[in-house]
Amino acid sequence: MELVTPAIGLIFWTTVVFSLLVLLLKKFAWKPILSAVDERNQSIKDSLAQAEKARSEMSELTANNEKIIAQAKVDRDLILKEARDMKNEIISEAKDKASNEAEKLVTTAKEQILNEKMKALTELKNHVADLSVEMAEKILRSELSDVAKQKELVTKVLKESKN
């Protein structure tokens, strides 16, 4: 039964040695080691969180950039479209104007031509009238030299005018 009888000396020394061991290791090993490990873990955690934050910020930035680019594209298209519309408008306006102008010109020209024509006609008429009068005078002068012929003429003219 020697084996299962605890010896008082060994109990004493184990108690002393173990108690001192707990106190000393607590002060010189467990506390510094565990606090260093925890600190390291914390710093790893922080670094990871920071990296994650930076990454999300980065992706946000990229997304923003993309948005801006997309917006720019839309704006560009809009501007281009507006420009194109304006161009078309200007062209069509110019066309309209040109055709109006041309029409006006043509109209004026026509009017002028008509006027000129009328003028010419009037002039011609006057001229013809003068000529006729002159001729008539001459004819009359020759005709009226013969009395018979004067009479005949007067009746003829009267007949004609009755009609």
């Binding site: 000396g9 090993a29 510094p32 600190e39």
Partner: protein, 343 residues
């Protein structure tokens, strides 16, 4: 490469322990077949000298200090003053001698308390010193801030974190901080003493019931002193138990307070002692064969026995870790039960 080296170390230990054992015991025949029990018991027991080799009067040992306390004062002398038990040591009017159980007695019948630095105490001091060296080195390596662990630190840190996170934190919960230093010290103290005990010629510290008694007593005291209302409630008024069963349940719970640390004590002591006994028995087979069948028989049995010893040695290394783990785990569980809030 590393595997080869460790295998060689194990082989060396095996062979060396065979030899250191063989040197001493070959002569222990008392007619008939060799009886290994006294030798084995001697090997796993504590002693006042650190026996190396040789037997009886021809043995070589490192003498250790004997410290004897009595009401007449403290006497200190070296264990080899007894001259293998042949001499008496006389200090003033006190005469000390060794009885046939290797105990020191005072011939005048004076009550003495033997506080000697025995083989186990010396071995424990060496282990503790080593533990300080290791933990000091590890602790210092943290002065380099936020650098990945390297060397010894890389080996010890996972162990420390495993014990803290998977054993202590898991079983005690929120209030673990207060008990972490104690339980970490349990683990590493038991582990290093288990491993040191495997060295040839080493002492059997954690296989000594006095050592395991102190360790489990500490667990008992911690659970009793830090036990909260909930813990005592479970003992003196187990919830959900009908009144009629109380006279049975309460004594059982009270006995349970003591059986838990008692089991801790026996478990560690028995496991480590058993490992030593198995190795010693397997080596003894050689001498049994020699006494039964002559030297030829011994040569026949020796290789088989050595192989078995090698095998058990490997298992013992595992057991060294396992028992340190189990002791710490169960202590954590018991402390956890004592300090946890009800659910």
């Amino acid at each position: 490469m590393q595997k080869k080296v460790s295998l060689l170390i194990v082989l060396f230990f095996t062979i060396f322990s065979c030899f250191s054992f063989a040197g001493g015991e070959a002569t222990q025949e008392k007619g008939g077949v060799y009886n290994p029990v006294p030798t084995i018991m001697h090997h796993i027991a504590d002693a006042h000298e650190w026996h190396l080799w040789g037997e009886g009067d021809n043995s070589y040992s490192i003498p250790l200090p004997v410290i004897l306390y009595s009401e007449k004062g403290v006497d200190i002398f070296m264990a080899n003053d007894f001259n293998h038990g042949h001499s008496k040591v006389i200090k003033e009017d006190r005469v000390y001698s060794i009885d046939n159980h290797s105990h020191i007695i005072e011939e005048g019948g004076l009550e003495i308390i033997d506080l000697s630095i025995t083989k186990n105490v010396a071995s424990m001091l060496i282990s503790v010193f080593l533990l300080f060296l290791i933990m000091g080195t590890v602790s210092r390596s943290y002065s380099r801030k936020n650098v990945e662990p390297s060397g010894l630190q890389a080996f010890i840190e996972p162990l420390i974190l495993f014990v803290r996170d998977d054993i202590i934190k898991d079983n005690i919960g929120k209030k673990h901080e207060k008990f972490t230093p104690l339980l970490l010290t349990f683990f590493f103290f038991i582990l290093i003493n288990n491993l040191m005990g495997l060295l040839p010629g080493a002492a059997n510290v954690t296989g000594n019931i006095a050592v395991t008694f102190v360790l489990s007593l500490i667990t008992f005291l911690v659970t009793t002193l830090f036990g909260n209302k909930n813990y005592w409630g479970h003992i003196f008024k187990p919830p959900g138990v009908p009144m009629a069963l109380m006279p049975i349940m309460v004594p059982i719970e009270i006995i349970g307070m003591f059986t838990k640390p008692f089991a801790l004590m026996i478990r560690l002591f028995a496991n480590i002692s058993a490992g030593h006994i198995i190795i010693l028995s397997l080596i003894s087979l050689i001498f049994i064969a020699q006494s039964a069948m002559g030297t030829g028989g011994a040569w026949g049995v020796a290789p088989v026995s050595a192989l078995f010893v090698l095998f058990i040695y490997c298992i013992e290394v595992l057991v060294a870790f396992l028992q340190a783990y189990i002791f710490t785990l169960l202590s954590s569980v018991f402390i956890g039960l004592a300090v946890q809030d009800g659910h």
